[in-house]
Structures are given as structure tokens and as C-alpha cells.
């Protein structure tokens, strides 16, 4: 899922300081699962902003709703009626949701409540970690299911580097060396010979180097 973290409330308040009435839109997708922008967080943010503004003697009117997903036009379409009489929309989705709202309601001031951080998983309740760098050409079959692009601090394809010490990466004793993990797993699987194949430089044009990407499936298109 996409992991996002809420911005400091003061920063969000500053973005809407001129507004009297705002619509806060949560998202029931990834940001609900990572507990930063679902229904509950939307209510908490709305309440916090109301309290802040009331303390300043400048009351804020809030309307809250949580969309199934903000990254799908069909789920933001029903917001049209709510958007009409607000001065701004605060999106608690990832950056995609913010942009979809801004595009659909182009005459409205749409602001992000979150910092979109990475693609990852939930290690344990309350801990999320980055696991994929969205490189567009997955090589996990060569690396024992451990991603060197994102989990190796240098994203090297033929590791480890000289900074690998006792299983830890040289950047911090709290960070596992991804290449040590890869080696250990491949060894356990009896596939160390695979690691002897030297990997050529990666084709980054399939990643961000090729500009913004698009995925097209003509067979599922309607019309």
C-alpha cells in the first residue's frame, strides 16, 4: 500500500487560514490501512482544526466525508454537491487523490493534509516499512524476494558493497544490509550460483527516468 503521514496540523491550518468553510475528504484505501487518512483521522483533523480556529476567535465550518478511493474518478464524482459551497478542500489521501480532486474540481483550492512517503507494508501494528521502489522491471526472482533497489541504501545490483558489516548497512546499525539478506536467503534456497551472474546496469527508462508512466489495458477499456 501507499504509506502517508499527516503533516503537522499547524501547516495544514496555514494552508486554509483564509477559509471559512472547508470540506475534508478522507480515503478508504491505503491511507485508511496505514491509519493516516481514513474516516477516523478525517474526523480528528476536522475537530482539531475547529478547535484551533475557535481559539483564535475565527470559527471554521467543516464538512467531512470519506471516499471509497480518491484515485478513481467514479468515487469522487459524488462529492460535487458538497464541494459547491466550501472555500477549500483538504484531502487526506495520498498525492494521487489530491491531484484527482484538484483536476475534477479545478476552480477549488485543494490542499494536501498528508506527506506521501512510500510503498510498503505493515511490519506490525503501528510500524510501516518501505519495500518497493516502483522500478517498473521487477528483479525479485534474482534476489531471493528481497528488493535491492529500495532496501539497499545504494540500490546496487551486484552487492554487497564494502560497507556491509555484520549484516548491517553502513548507514546505520539499525538497517539490515539488503545484500546480506539476499545472500543468506539464496544460500538457504541452494541458489547461490544465481548470484554469480553479474547484473548489467538497470534500464531505468522503465522507472521514473522515462517520465511519468501510464499503464494501458485495451481489453478492459469501455467504449
Amino acid at each position: 500500500m501507499i504509506i502517508a503521514q499527516q503533516k503537522p496540523i499547524k501547516d495544514i491550518a496555514a494552508m486554509i487560514e483564509d477559509c471559512k468553510k472547508v470540506l475534508l475528504v478522507g480515503c478508504a484505501g491505503c491511507v485508511t490501512v496505514c491509519l493516516s487518512g481514513g474516516e477516523k483521522e478525517t474526523e480528528v483533523l476536522a475537530s482539531s482544526l475547529r478547535i484551533m480556529r475557535r481559539l483564535q476567535g475565527n470559527p471554521l465550518e467543516t464538512v467531512t466525508i470519506t471516499a471509497t478511493r480518491q484515485c478513481d474518478p467514479e468515487y469522487i464524482e459524488p462529492l460535487e454537491n458538497l464541494v459547491k459551497d466550501v472555500d477549500a478542500i483538504i484531502s487526506l489521501a495520498c498525492g494521487v487523490g489530491v491531484q484527482y480532486l484538484a483536476e475534477r474540481f479545478h476552480d477549488k483550492w485543494v490542499v494536501p493534509a498528508q506527506n506521501t512517503m512510500f510503498v510498503g507494508g505493515s511490519r506490525t501494528h503501528g510500524v510501516w516499512e518501505e519495500r518497493c521502489g516502483l522500478c517498473g522491471d521487477c528483479i525479485l526472482h534474482r534476489t531471493g524476494g528481497i528488493c535491492p533497489i529500495i532496501r539497499c541504501s545504494k540500490s546496487i545490483l551486484n552487492g554487497p558493497c564494502g560497507g556491509s558489516q555484520y549484516g548491517k548497512c553502513e548507514i546505520s546499525k539499525d538497517v539490515d544490509c539488503a545484500w546480506q539478506l539476499i545472500y543468506d536467503r539464496m544460500k538457504a534456497l541452494g541458489k547461490l550460483d544465481k548470484l554469480m551472474e553479474i547484473q548489467p546496469p538497470k534500464d531505468w527508462s522503465k522507472s521514473r527516468d522515462g517520465g511519468p508512466r501510464k499503464a494501458i489495458r485495451e481489453d478492459v477499456m469501455i467504449g
Binding site: P8, I9, K10, A28, E39, K40, E43, V44, A46, S47, S48, R50, I51, M52, R53, R54, L55, G57, P59, L60, E61, T62, V63, T64, I65, T66, A67, T68, Y75, I76, P78, L79, L82
Partner: protein
Amino acid sequence: MRLQYSSNIRIIEMPCSGTIDHRVLLQAFEDGADGVFVAGCMEGDCHFQKGNYRAKKRVNAVKKLLDEIGLGGDRLEMYNLSAAMGPRFAEIANEMTERIRQLGPSPLRKNKAGTSRKEGDVA
């Protein structure tokens, strides 16, 4: 046993302190409470095992939030006591009342509230 404690306290019963939610606490302040205390069972005595520990974590998170938004985290506190500890309850109630008295009435009360509306999920 009849014990005296401050009469200005409104008690909201919950099935377990672990059901305490950030929203309930914030709503109490928005509705005009000068202070709020959450009374959970003694640590280690939770019928649902960890409800009171979780309540404490949430209370601490909301205290931080109240500091951030300018109302002040001191207006919220978590206490642990059992249902059989009447005198301790009265003591806590008076202690908290005294703390809030020193902090003064909630500054929210002198200002007009903004309205809020919650729409159903789009889902």
C-alpha cells in the same frame, strides 16, 4: 459508602477504557468541557487484557495533540483505579478539579464554535 467529590463532574460510562477514541475526547472539549479524565482499571487488571494500556496510549496522543492545537494537554489525564476504590475516585476527581481550576475555564467556551457536518461514506 457515601463520598463527596466535586459536583461539576459529568460521568460518561464506557464498557472499557480501551474503547476510548481520540474523537470522543476531542468532542468533550468541543462541547465545552474544561478538562477530561479517563478512569481505567488498574494496570494488569483489564478484563480485555490490554484495554487500559491502549487507553493510556491514546490519551497521551491526544494530550500531545491538545498541546499542538493550543488547548493544552494538561486538561486531559488518565488515571487507573478499580471499581472498588471509591475514596480514590473522589480523590482523583478533586485533584483533577483543582488542576483545572488553576488552568481556568476552557478558552474555547468564550468563543463561538464553527459548525461541523459529517456526510456518509461515498463507499
